[in-house]
């Protein structure tokens, strides 16, 4: 390898964003942004300079200057990678057609549910991330449609009451409206909380997975600074719980198959926790080398910054059971909004739940009053863990089902 390498890290995003006020699209914002990071590896150092748009020679010169002065030591040089392209993008959707489609969706919601006010954001985005040397390297492209509709009942004193969401590579108007109707009908039927103290809870997996992902940070784990330090190889959780570092893009659109150093995963995913056993932490190349672990594609970077360990999307592997099967015959709780809670350092979790629905047989029955949930990480993903749904009952997303304590 030569001692002087130029590398381009570039993110191209094209977005159309619609602001919704009172069920009307009141703002149309378009963005076509190219962020370019010029990296120069020379003399055991890394120099980075950024530009919005395509970089000119002046940007490369700034990167050369940054690498030449005492600054960022980079003894390991750049990562090795074989050229590859992956394009998961859905067919392009013309701006005018998108605007017309979303206007129609909002018109339907307003017509069918005049007692609610709909607001917030809708957007479609296409992104491409590149990491290249001498014009060859890695390219990952994808697209997504996202709806984040805040719903407020006209008689409510809360700024908002519930949310209708969609995030997917493709758009399914029928599925979105069906799930919206199911939720809004349930909202209009007040329900009583199930008998506690323990209840079966279904939620978007990210609500509870954050502490697990945070505790898998390789640098911290290796230094004895996370809950999982010293526990590699140990069975910590339910045999039903398997967690992947996941760059397949199946659950989260617009995730590149490589990290900011160009590291990719075999088949674009790798188990971090397999059947409850802690197998490996999240690492970038530096952390992997320091502790003798494999790199798990968890380097991130600002477009004009140096790559470093920032994390990787994680996915809990679904089982074979549906939401109805995982929640069983008895009542369960579907959490839509639980903002502000957190885990303590010891893994104890508590959160208020602002919006939730009663589930029976996997169907939404009615709206629950505000309440609070509590649990411990090792119980949530251990004895209490039921699994990830095989079906996608949350506006096209899977749900995590576990047992938590009403408080």
């Amino acid at each position: 390898m030569t001692d002087h390498i130029r590398e381009l890290y570039q993110i191209r995003e094209e977005e159309l964003s619609l602001s919704v006020t009172q069920g009307e699209i009141t703002e149309v914002t378009r963005k076509k942004i190219v962020r370019s990071g010029c990296r120069v590896y020379a003399g055991g150092r890394l120099g980075v300079a950024g530009a919005l748009g395509e970089p000119g020679e002046d940007t490369w010169l700034r990167a050369e200057e940054a690498a030449a002065r005492p600054g960022l030591p980079w003894p390991r040089g750049p990562g090795e990678y074989r050229p590859r392209r992956r394009d998961l993008s859905a067919p392009a959707w013309a701006d005018g057609d998108f605007l017309q489609e979303m206007t129609g969706v909002l018109d339907t919601l307003k017509r069918e549910y005049p007692q609610f006010i709909f607001s917030n954001k809708i957007r479609k985005v296409h992104s491409e991330t590149r990491l290249e040397r001498e014009g060859a390297g890695l390219r990952s492209a994808d697209s997504a449609v996202e709806l984040a509709i805040i719903v407020k009942h006209r008689q409510s004193l809360s700024p908002f009451d519930t949310a209708l969401e969609w995030q997917g590579r493709t758009w399914d108007r029928g599925a979105f409206l069906d799930q919206s109707r199911s939720q809004l009908e349930a909202f209009l039927r007040p329900a009583r909380l199930p008998e506690g103290p323990w209840v079966t809870v279904a939620a978007e997996p990210g609500l509870l997975l954050g502490k697990v992902a945070e505790s898998l940070d390789g640098e911290d784990l290796g230094r004895g600074a996370t809950l999982f330090s010293g526990k590699l190889g140990e069975g910590l959780f339910s045999p039903a719980f398997t967690l992947l570092a996941d760059r397949r893009g199946e659950e989260d659109p617009c995730v590149p198959f490589f990290d900011a150093e160009g590291t990719a995963l075999p088949e674009d995913c790798l188990p971090l926790i397999r059947a409850g056993v802690l197998e490996r932490p999240l690492t970038d190349r530096r952390t992997a080398a320091r502790f003798g672990w494999e790199a798990t594609a968890a380097a991130g970077a600002m477009y004009d910054g140096a790559p470093r360990l920032m994390g990787c999307p994680v996915t809990a592997v679904p089982g074979a059971a549906s939401l109805a099967e995982l929640t069983g015959d008895g009542p369960a709780v579907w959490v839509v909004l639980a903002a502000g809670g957190d885990y303590t350092a010891a893994g104890d979790y508590a959160t208020p739940v602002q919006t939730a629905y009663l589930l029976e047989g996997g169907r939404l029955v009615g709206r629950l009053p505000e309440f609070a949930l509590a649990g411990n990480l090792y119980h949530i993903f251990g004895e209490g863990y039921r699994g990830i749904t095989a079906d996608r009952p949350l506006f096209g997303q899977r749900a995590l089902v576990t047992r938590l304590k009403l408080s």
Partner: protein, 442 residues
């Protein structure tokens, strides 16, 4: 400078930013970023809908203006539209830092500023991991509109943040030490403050026990009181939640009693600090807006759209995170006004309660939340054992009535606020020590 389209309102916000970030992770330099960017947000309004575009090639602003205008429907009465009539037309250069050399502190000096924390961290035998991050930024904005506005202003920010994890007991405990200011000098030479913070954190990690969940009288530090004001009432004061909502308009009528008579909350973008916003992103000048005065609803925060919809005056709160976003209604520097008691007098009034000294994050709707990073029990009016708390919550409209003590001493902290997809927006938050009769602690 630009030819604005006829029959439409249009504005252009040009932004240039330079700054950087330095990070030492576990003593190793892992980031030394020199960031420079420029761009523009171009907006056109036809009386029904806004058409916006974010561009990085500022030479293309005229082209974008023309392109957006082609999407809009020209409106001969646009100047009579209530929103357009509400807009201020300010002109001039308001550059606080024009005389200062914002590049006077060199990259090497900034590296040394951050590196000065490393020996202090090495003194701690139970330190498991650390990340020292210095960041700064200088932004100049120029706002022009088809009404004739042409105002240029600047903002400047610097911060030092030390994240560290200690292993004093069975489980590692994360902590954060942070200082935010406007200039590098305000976050330099903080080694003694960091040393004191580490000592306090070690004691906390050694002795903290899980709190017995329940309802307690609570005293909030000025920083936490600021978050409380921001989350509990500030977000509810953002008038975009009220557009076209008759229920909210009735409930939030000016003069309604919403809190204890000792309570005053205001928002003021002219205050120097993290939330300093001399002009908002619609060109409106900053001013102090009382949200609550002596326990009664006194005002709310507006963009031109919300001010026009509610028939109220502008407040300078239409803010965007950067040129990539159009402005929405946001807070600037949100503070609780001081009271008449001393800190000691506030504590003396609590037989058994909880003191919330610092926090990880907060949120606010009908129920507000604060996730404390450090908290202590209060027993017999004195600080007692440290406690581990997941979350402190309360109903906003009930809790504001339960405030029964405010200290004379105040402080102004800083943070980042998230709303819709725009996060983090720099804001200031502060106030006195605040005593609340009852909050739910878990």
């Amino acid at each position: 400078m630009y030819t604005f389209p006829k029959g439409l309102y249009a504005d252009v916000r040009l932004e240039t930013t330079r700054g950087g970030q330095i990070t030492y992770q576990n003593g190793t330099l892992t980031e030394n970023r020199d960031a420079r960017q420029a761009g523009a947000m171009v907006r056109v309004f036809d009386g029904t809908r806004w058409y916006n575009s974010a561009v990085t090639d500022v030479e293309r602003v005229q082209e974008e203006l023309d392109s957006l205008a082609a999407m809009a429907a020209p409106n001969p009465h646009i100047l009579d539209h209530p929103l357009v009539r509400a807009l201020e037309v300010n002109r001039g250069r308001h550059l606080r830092w024009e005389e200062a050399d914002v590049d006077a502190v060199t990259g090497e000096e900034k590296l040394a500023l951050a590196a000065a924390c490393l020996p202090v961290l090495e003194e701690v035998p139970t330190l498991q991991s650390s990340a020292v991050t210095y960041a700064d930024g200088y932004t100049v904005k120029r706002f022009l509109s088809s009404l004739g506005a042409d105002v240029t202003f600047d903002t400047r920010r610097a911060s030092l943040r030390v994240d560290y994890t200690l292993l004093e007991g069975a489980e590692p405990d994360p902590f954060v030490f942070r200082r935010l200011g406007e200039t590098p000098g305000e976050v330099a030479h903080l080694e003694e403050a960091l040393r004191a913070d580490l000592e306090e954190a070690r004691d906390y990690a050694r002795r903290a026990v899980p709190v017995a969940p329940g309802k307690y009288p609570c005293i909030l530090s000025p920083l936490v009181a600021g978050v409380f004001a921001h989350e509990s009432f500030g977000h509810k004061s953002e008038a975009d939640f009220m557009i076209g909502d008759e229920t909210m308009k009735r409930e939030w009528a000016m003069g309604s009693v919403v809190g204890a008579p000792i309570l005053n909350i205001y928002d003021d973008g002219s205050l120097p600090g993290n939330g300093y916003t001399p002009f908002d992103d619609e060109g409106t000048a900053a001013r102090r807006t009382y949200l609550i005065r002596e326990g009664k609803l006194a005002g709310r925060l507006h963009s031109a759209a919300t001010a026009a919809d509610l028939g109220e005056g502008l407040t300078g709160n239409a803010r965007a995170m950067n040129f990539l976003y159009p402005p929405i209604v946001r807070m600037t520097a949100t503070c609780i006004g001081p009271g008449e008691e001393s800190r000691e007098e506030l504590f003396a009034g609590v037989e058994e309660g909880v003191y919330i000294a610092d926090f990880w994050h907060g949120s606010g709707m009908s129920t507000f939340t604060i996730a404390p990073s450090r908290a202590w029990m209060i027993r017999g009016g004195k600080l007692a054992e440290p406690v581990r708390v997941s979350v402190v919550t309360g109903n906003v409209m009930e809790t504001l009535h339960l405030i029964d003590g405010l200290s004379r001493e105040t402080d102004l902290g800083a943070g980042g606020c998230g709303k819709m997809e725009q996060m983090p927006l720099p804001v200031s938050m502060g106030g006195p020590y605040v005593r609340v009769k009852e909050l739910t602690v878990r």
